[in-house]
């Protein structure tokens, strides 16, 4: 029996709460049956329906899973940690957005340089991988504070490409 209350949050949305060994999704109480069918392959049965999943990563309290082929990233919070997060969010703490390579490949072209102003959705560079040209676009409006790659560089997955500071 775990005495604390745990809340599983996706983004800012609470999906699941656990209190006194009772699981609740919204107002519904749920009793999932989780079976590990083979190494890191699970079936999750809820309301008679079977879902199929795997655990991708768990780092501290952040867990990424794939279920039915879709990816979900949750953080597991207590009431205290959730409160603390809300406080931080209210203060409007924001930091630079670091963009990493979504996959290994080659930088075909960079469209911006350090100091450039960029708008949300603007193309920053083209990464060629798996025979496809992928535009890397800015997720926010801001300024290019650092550009870590240049044309024809080979990059690894998750390699830092560019730093955008918010406006």
């Amino acid at each position: 029996m775990r005495s604390d209350k745990f809340i599983v949050v996706e983004g800012t949305k609470p999906v699941l709460t656990l209190k006194s060994d009772k699981l609740q999704a919204g107002r519904d109480e749920i009793v999932p049956e989780i079976t590990e069918v083979s190494s890191n392959e699970f079936t999750i049965k809820i309301k008679g329906k079977e879902h199929f999943g795997e655990i991708v990563s768990l780092k501290q309290n952040v867990c990424t899973v794939n279920v039915n082929g879709n990816t979900y990233k949750f953080s597991i919070e207590t009431e205290k940690s959730l409160k603390r997060q809300k406080k931080l969010a209210k203060k409007g703490v924001s930091s630079n957005v670091k963009i990493t390579a979504p996959l290994p490949g080659t930088i075909l072209e960079t469209m911006v340089k350090e100091g450039d102003k960029v708008a949300k959705g603007e193309a920053l560079m083209i990464l060629e991988a798996m025979k496809m040209q992928n535009e890397i676009v800015s997720p926010i409006s801001g300024k290019v504070s650092r550009l870590m790659v240049s044309q024809s560089d080979t990059v690894l997955k998750d390699q830092l490409l560019i730093d955008i500071s918010p406006k």
Binding site: I34, I44, K49, L103, M130, M132
Partner: protein, 494 residues
């Protein structure tokens, strides 16, 4: 007479070709490369040619080396599959020079029909409708802008050497033109090594319908009806069906006849595909011809019962087509789902890596052409196609129903695939009614992937379990090391 074939390709298509070769009693050869030393397809070849020591070459792209290996091993013929050198005229040329049979059309056909500019000219000459556009290639932006102004925006800029959706850009207006023009040329230059482009009027809501043709070297040519390929992203096909739900029988015959006109005019032989665009009024326009076997050929095989690879081999042998046009009947409906290693939730970003699981049910309505099994790696240096699920039904409605069951039974792990996208397509109204266009992804669906009921909650349950399992493990380790209980408590509280 072909007794042995070097399959100059990899993954599912090499296995597909080997299956027919085996049926015909033909010995097959494949390459063992350093990029994929444990490739699944190698188990389907009678002989493997080890080229893994040559780490500087992508063997599939090297004309001289491929043909030389065929000569060295006394192999009768080369099948190029799709992609790579399949539409490179130098391969059949080199084959001819070295006395190896090329399973495909002549280099002259590839040169003419594979060049969109020339093919277009031929189409005009034999009275097959084409879209308004530039007379020939465009050599400067200025020239492009002038022609675009004449025919009116939006226009599409296309690489003459293009294919598979690469080297094509749409310019919405005058302001957009310089950027797109440059992008199209760059892409064409990097991918095809040929930066020449031409311009055509862009149809806003087109359908993509293509006709499968077969011709022998004696001038006989037939078609195996059409495939509908309008579900695309970035001009790349994701899903195909046959027959097309858009065509009336009358239009079907007319498009088929137009496809044959082109083949007859050029004396085309082997398998080929004539691509058309359909506008909203169901006017059809010739787009291009693919002078190879296509990824989506199985849907045609499913509804006509013709083994297209077998026909290619027989034609390369010099045999006359035994099939007559009146023998070709459409039976039922077939879908092909391209199960790509792609992350639909990240806008189809490639997702290479190890396939940890690939479980596929055996169903009579399912043909599963795969290039991988669990434990194999999807390399980042090749395209993202993992497998093709071809699902059939007596009617379109039944095929949709079968597909929706089968797609839920296929289990994958380790990589992300396009399956959640296909589930979404199958429940989208415009698709179900057959009223969809190439803008389907942008227009008709809001979320690219399907979520089952309570899926998010199930995912949260699994995450919570993972979290507690980890804590319990830390707890167990901590207990072993006799850490005092308060340490434990603080870990759990986070």
């Amino acid at each position: 007479m072909i007794k042995s074939i070097l399959i100059a390709n990899r993954s599912e298509i090499s296995i597909r070709i080997a299956a027919t070769a085996k049926k015909m009693g033909i010995k097959t050869y494949m390459f063992l490369t350093h990029q994929e030393p444990n490739a699944y397809n190698l188990g389907f070849a009678d002989e493997v040619i080890d080229v893994s020591e040559d780490t500087f070459t992508n063997i599939y792209m090297n004309v001289e080396k491929i043909v030389q290996h065929a000569v060295n091993h006394n192999i009768d013929a080369i099948h190029p599959g799709y992609g790579f050198l399949s539409e490179n005229p130098f391969l059949p040329k080199e084959c001819e020079a070295k006395g190896v049979i090329f399973i495909g059309p002549s280099h002259d056909h590839i040169e003419k029909m594979g060049n969109k500019g020339v093919a277009r000219k031929i189409a005009v000459e034999c009275g097959v409708p084409v879209l308004e556009g530039s007379k020939g290639i465009i050599s400067s932006l200025g020239e492009g802008e002038k022609i675009a102004a004449e025919i009116g925006y939006p226009v599409i800029i296309k690489a003459v050497a293009g294919g598979g959706g690469k080297g094509m850009r749409v310019a919405a207006n005058k302001e957009d033109m310089p950027k797109q023009f440059k992008a199209a040329i760059n892409e064409a230059q990097t991918i095809f090594g040929n930066g020449t482009v031409f311009i055509e009027k862009y149809i806003m809501k087109p359908r993509h319908v293509e006709v499968q043709v077969l011709g022998d070297q004696k001038g006989n040519v037939i078609h195996l009806y059409e495939r509908e390929c309008s579900i695309q992203r970035k001009h790349q096909k994701l899903m195909e069906e046959a027959p097309s739900p858009a065509l009336t029988q009358e239009l079907r015959e007319k498009i088929g006849a137009d496809a044959l006109k082109l083949c007859k005019a050029t004396g085309y032989y082997s398998a080929g595909t004539v691509e058309f665009l359909l506008d909203e009024q169901n006017n059809h326009y010739f787009m291009e011809m693919n002078t190879r076997i296509q990824v989506e050929h199985p849907v045609t095989e499913a509804i006509t019962g013709v083994d297209i690879v077998e026909q290619q081999i027989r034609i390369a042998n010099g045999e006359a087509l035994q099939l007559k046009q009146e023998d070709i009947k459409i039976d039922g409906c077939a879908f092909e789902f391209r199960i790509n290693a792609e992350d639909v939730q990240a806008d189809f970003a490639p997702s290479s890596g190890i396939i940890e699981e690939l479980d596929v049910p055996k169903r009579k309505n399912l043909r599963f052409d795969t290039g991988y099994v669990a434990g194999k790696i999807v390399p980042a240096c090749y395209d993202s196609l993992v497998a093709k699920a071809i699902v059939t039904g007596k009617t379109r409605k039944e095929a949709i129903k079968n597909a929706s069951v089968i797609l839920r039974e296929i289990r994958t792990g380790g990589i992300k695939t396009t399956i959640p996208f296909f589930k979404k397509v199958l429940e989208t109204g415009s698709f179900v009614s057959g009223e969809y266009y190439t803008n389907f992804i942008q227009q008709d669906i809001e979320q690219l992937y399907h979520q089952e009921e309570d899926e998010q909650v199930a995912a949260a349950c699994l995450a919570l379990k993972a979290y507690f399992d980890e804590i319990d493990e830390i707890g167990a380790d901590a207990a072993r090391e006799e850490v005092r209980p308060w340490v434990m408590k603080s870990i759990i509280k986070g």
